[in-house]
Structure formats: structure tokens, C-alpha cells
Symmetry: C2
Subunit: 191 residues, 2 copies
Amino acid sequence: MNPALKSILLYIHPLPESILEEIDLYFQEQTFPKNHLLLKEGRPCQYLWFMEKGAARYFHTTEEGKEANVWFSFDRDILASAPSFANQSPTHESIQLMEDSTLFAISFHDFHRLLQKHHTFALWYIKLIEKFYITQIEDRIGDLQFLSAKQRYEKLLLLFPDISNRVSLGHIASYLNITQETLSRIRAGKM
Amino acid sequence: MNPALKSILLYIHPLPESILEEIDLYFQEQTFPKNHLLLKEGRPCQYLWFMEKGAARYFHTTEEGKEANVWFSFDRDILASAPSFANQSPTHESIQLMEDSTLFAISFHDFHRLLQKHHTFALWYIKLIEKFYITQIEDRIGDLQFLSAKQRYEKLLLLFPDISNRVSLGHIASYLNITQETLSRIRAGKM
DNA sequence: TGTAGTTTTTGATGTACATCAAAAGTATTT
DNA sequence: AAATACTTTTGATGTACATCAAAAACTACA
């Protein structure tokens, strides 16, 4: 098994070697170029990905046809539209790569079979949701509700100190739910 | 087993009768008066509750000592601070009842044992998270990010048509992340 | 190295909402 | 029914951000 994949899987929660070997059969390594659309609005999210190396943004398309970023993922992170993957329903959010990226993919079908077959894998998945989803998303809501634009930006920098080098100002501003102009002024110390 | 509890459990996902009977041993029916604090900031969330009948608000306490509502729960809903229950870590959000309420409670300890013991129960819990948490919370973020105060209010009314009769204007405004004055003006058609 | 395309910055103006202050309405207690 | 406390409304003013327009600074590649 690819050591990078193995370390991501085990970081979430221990899994016995026998199951790891079985899981390995279902994961496919994929590389995509910068700007590749991993998941498109309206389609069900059929894969769960692990990002070995790269960067991605999740975004909504508003009624006026504008894009609004709602999430970022970088190296060693998990990627999927959680509600769409869970229900195999059309996704509201698209996922696009912002760098050339290497990923490991498992299909919903295979994933679902592993859940049904192995109690241990179901417990592992519960940990995955708790660790990568529940905790992070509650923080995000709190930030939007309680922090000013400047505070949100400062918190993002704490979380991803090198984000300015990897992601354009426009994409960061969109994620913070402010305009490019406002973020530019925050950076210049004018707010 | 109490029929109300049974119907809530089965609504989430089917469970075999044998496990239902075992679960029943661990659930306690509780009634509390209006204003009772079910969960207090700083404590771990040690129970998962099912609300048979009643109303509750989740709130944060800001640095200036003000309270800000982040969620409501009514009849036949699930209650817990998800991140705190999952990790048994101190909660950032408190839960308070807004009406006299009847609940069923199960402790984290018992819940965890059921997860470890029964594969079926683990799969049921995954459904619970997917249905009651993932879908709802993504919506909430989208609303805060993309809708105006008025649109957020209208959407809340669609979801809970009778909320105005059960919850004070101040509590609703706080949940919508606006001031009481603004909500009053929205209601009066002045915005 | 120059030219076109993109990203970022700067300035002027507008607006959705907050804040502050007070009045009006409702519910609760005596 | 009067007194008290709480909730909701109204009005005046303030502010954090958006929007619009254009200049400046990077980036790419012919």
C-alpha cells in the first residue's frame, strides 16, 4: 500500500492490517492538472478523495452566475462534498483544483460495501466524520457569525500560514465572504 | 419501549427488534421545566437527547458576555453538541430549554458501548449524523454566507412556520445574526 | 523585450445593517 | 386595577463593508 495513503488512513483512526490490504484494492491513485474540476454542481459526488499533495477549493455558483468559495483543502486532507456523497444526491458545491494535485480516490459503491462488511471500517468512518467534518464545520459557522472580516482573515492565516503564496487574493476573499478590494485593504493595514 | 422514542429511532434508519430492546435499557425519559440549562459551556456533552416534545436553543457566550443563538431544536429532534459529544471535550455551546420539555437521554458511555458492540448500531449512527447533521449544517453555512437578513428570516419561517409563537423575537433575531430592532423592522415590512 | 492578460491596489460613493435612546405594548405579580 | 418587569417597536445616527471605476503591478508568452 502506498505509504502516504496508509499514513492518512491511520492518522484518522487505527485499522487492522487485513482491512488496510483490502481497502488498498479499492483506492486508485490519480493525478490532475491545475484547474481540473473534480466535482461539478448538479452531479452526485461519487468519490471520496484523499489529497496526497495539492490544493483545492469548494465553491457555489450564485444565481447571478458568480462563484463563491466555501472551503479549501490542501495536502493530506480529505475531499468530498459530504452531503452529496452521503446521499448520492446532486451536489450544490463544485470542487476545483488550484494546483497540480495527486489524489487517492475510492468510489461510493466500494466505500459503502466496506462499511457494510466491516464493523471496524464503520467505526473508522465515524472517526473520520467526527475529526474532519464536525469539528471543522462548527468552527466555520462560528467564524462567519462572530468574527469581523479582518479577524476571519487573521484566523485563516493562523490555520494556513502559507496560503497567500498558494491561493490568489480573489479566492481567499471569496472564502472569507468579502470582496477582493476589502481583503486588499485589510492586507494593506487600512482596515 | 416508549412508542415516541421508537418512532424517532426508526425514522433515522431501521434497527432490528433485538437491538431496540437493548437500546431501551439505556434510555432514560426526563422532563425539565422551561429555562432549564441542559448543557453548560465548558462542560463535556455527556448525553445525547431525543426531544419528544419541547423547544431548545443552542447558544454561545461572547467575550462581552452576550449570548448568541446558533441553533434551535423542537419536537422529535435530536439534541447534543456534536463536537463535544464526539470528543467528550468541553463544549463551546450551551443548550437551554425554551419550553417545558420531555426528552429521552442516553449517556456517552452507553452510546459508545452500543457502537462497539453492534455493527448495525454503528451504521445507524452514521445515518443519524448524515441525516440530522451534515445536511442541515451545510445549509446553515450557505444561508449565513449568501442570504440577506430578510431572506434568512423568510427561510426560517418556511422551515418552522409556528416559530413566532414559540420563540421570542430576541431569540430569533440572535439566531439570524441580526439585532432585535432589525428583525422588528423586517416583520413590519420596513426592510 | 514588448504586449496582452490577469491580479491587486486605490479612490469615491452607496447601503444593509448596527447602535443608541426612548416610547409603546404585553405579561406577571401584588 | 396598579405596579413592575419584560418584549417589541420606532426614530436618529453611525459604520463595516459593498459597488463601481480606473490605475498600477505583476505574469506569460510571442
